[in-house]
Symmetry: C2
Subunit: 355 residues, 2 copies
């Protein structure tokens, strides 16, 4: 199969009996890894390729790698292609996928991802912000399966804080695709400087990066000896010190570690209060690596949210109750690290209105 031979995509609107022999391809373009997968219409994974993202070789090389991998996936799978969706890190304009100095993809500033992919693949490609793709996967295949609704918001607490918002069954793009930048809600006046140029953004207080930085600062200040020791051990082992390491210490009862998660929970509660008061959605999903510390940050998060949002107070679900429409649910993600990849694969169906 050479590059000109990709067959015309099948209609995603076909009757479900026709869907059996179909596949859709999702691409997760990350700053470190490039992941490509094919899914059937029930979201079972048919094929998977994981490559390093050759950022230093420039966007054309990365696009070439993506297209080669897509061809390899298509060679492995006999099903008919419905479409290709890509989740990419922001800031990027949509639907063009034009990058605006993306911190995780240096050298991609101004690059038009959709055009580049389509001219190489000769088939339509849908570009989304990675956090929006992850939100889509949670909405249709993760938490949203147990908590169905037309609208939701997902915050992904990883290197940064990404946000994706689904409103009335559509991803909210805003004017130029930059809606849903929930990581850049300014929370603290004259707070930590942020990569976006602002100060005090949520991402500086609730991302995995922020949590590790808080741990390092606590260790440097003194009075957090167990944290200091673990950081030193990780350096000695040439491993990264992670939010998961800190969660381990916190669960063993280390007070400074517990405090750092509680602080992250407080700021997350402030950010959620803003989102609840402005959007009044039924569902907010928290994903990303930090969510492994849910038990450590959630109590303080809910405390702050109750304090700052009377709308949450009016709509808080009772504990241990089954899903009740009209309540505001804030829950950990169910889809895991592949949310963005699966969500990207869902894009052709979303665009056709058949998701």
């Amino acid at each position: 199969l050479n590059r000109q031979e990709i067959p015309s995509p099948a209609s995603p609107a076909a009757a479900s009996s026709d869907k059996k022999g179909r596949l859709t391809i999702g691409v997760d373009l990350g700053g470190t890894n490039l992941r490509i997968a094919a899914f059937d219409p029930e979201w079972n994974r048919l094929a998977y390729i994981n490559l390093p993202t050759r950022v230093s070789e420039g966007p054309d090389a990365v696009v070439g790698d993506m297209c080669d991998a897509i061809h390899r996936v298509l060679e492995q799978c006999p099903q008919q292609l419905v479409g290709v969706g890509i989740g990419a890190p922001g800031p990027l304009e949509l639907p063009s996928g034009k990058f605006h100095r993306p911190p995780n993809l240096p050298g991609f500033d101004g690059f038009l991802l959709k055009d580049a992919m389509e001219s190489k693949l000769q088939t339509p490609v849908i570009v989304e912000k990675d956090a929006n793709a992850a939100a889509l996967a949670e909405w249709k295949s993760g938490v949203g399966k147990k908590m169905p609704g037309d609208s939701m918001c997902m915050l992904t607490l990883g290197t940064g804080v990404g946000a994706g918002i689904v409103l009335d069954r559509k991803i909210w793009h805003g004017m130029i695709g930059m809606g849903g930048e929930g990581g850049h809600i300014p929370l603290v006046e004259n707070g930590f400087p942020c990569g976006c140029g602002g100060r005090g953004c949520l991402e500086q207080y609730a991302s995995a990066t922020a949590i590790c930085r808080a741990a390092t600062r606590a260790a440097a200040r003194g009075g957090a000896d167990r944290i200091a020791k673990l950081i030193a051990r990780r350096i000695a082992d040439q491993c990264e010190f992670t939010a998961r390491d800190l969660a381990g210490l916190a669960r063993e009862g280390d007070e400074p570690s517990r405090q750092i998660f509680a602080d992250a929970g407080k700021f997350l509660g402030m950010g959620l209060a803003m989102l609840v008061n402005v959007l009044n959605l039924p569902l907010y999903v928290i994903g990303g690596g930090v969510v492994s510390g849910w038990d450590l940050f959630a109590p303080r998060m809910f405390e702050e949210l109750r304090r700052l949002s009377y709308i949450y107070g009016l709509t808080e679900p009772e504990a241990d109750q089954s899903f009740t429409p009209g309540k505001t649910y804030i829950v950990p993600a169910a889809t895991g690290p592949d949310a963005g990849l699966l969500g990207a694969a869902m894009l052709p169906y979303l665009e056709a209105g058949t998701l």
Copy 2:
């Protein structure tokens, strides 16, 4: 005309040639005044009634006054009624118009405004949050005429800070009608306590009430003699000291007065940064009494917004340029104090999809 005799409403979907002989009624239910007006389909006002809101007599008396006034308006106007819309202060659930301890309407907690009005009028009534109605008027008949788009947000800086959000040509209600509570964006950790039960809400820093409180505090602290003198004069005259008074002093060069407006601008800029980063809308309109001090608070507001929102930085319109799609506009309201009344009258058309 007695209460049973309201004729069936005309279809708002009729061809525009049939619209000439039609009217729509808007009601602005405020904590102090009850205003009722009829408008033709070109939004010319045909009749107007202004009454005190008899809050202490309870909701049934107020509903009775509204219905009597609607009948009087209909008696004055020969045109056929299209529908009745009411803008009411929140918090209230929509579409039922169920109040949740509204601070400006004590005694209305739990009252169902839509049911009460419809059973008395025997015609459909649409209830909206007052700030949403004002946003609607600005979108269709105010600033939005010069800056057309499918989405916008309006902040009304008055006694409190109200917010109304139009997304994709619909008022954004969220799950139970409590979307768009932009006045309760938490801005300051452990800031001023707010009527909503939270702390540090935008409304505590950028409303007319907040500005007057800041002035009183400055006067009490000393070093703001002109403010202190003017407050004393207003008390002697048994008048209220208003944000407009403070704007007068600021324009005469009084530094403490100028600083208070600059501070309000800073917090407004923080709130706008959140809204711009989360929603990425093309248009944000600032209305309410405080907007008379636009020249005093806007420079600091834009400064803060630029600092905290890279999305605004990417989309800031060039000065003195005509309206350009793709840019983010932040402008003072054009409709004035009747925005809520006009917006209420627009509701039947909005609901019919013919606005």
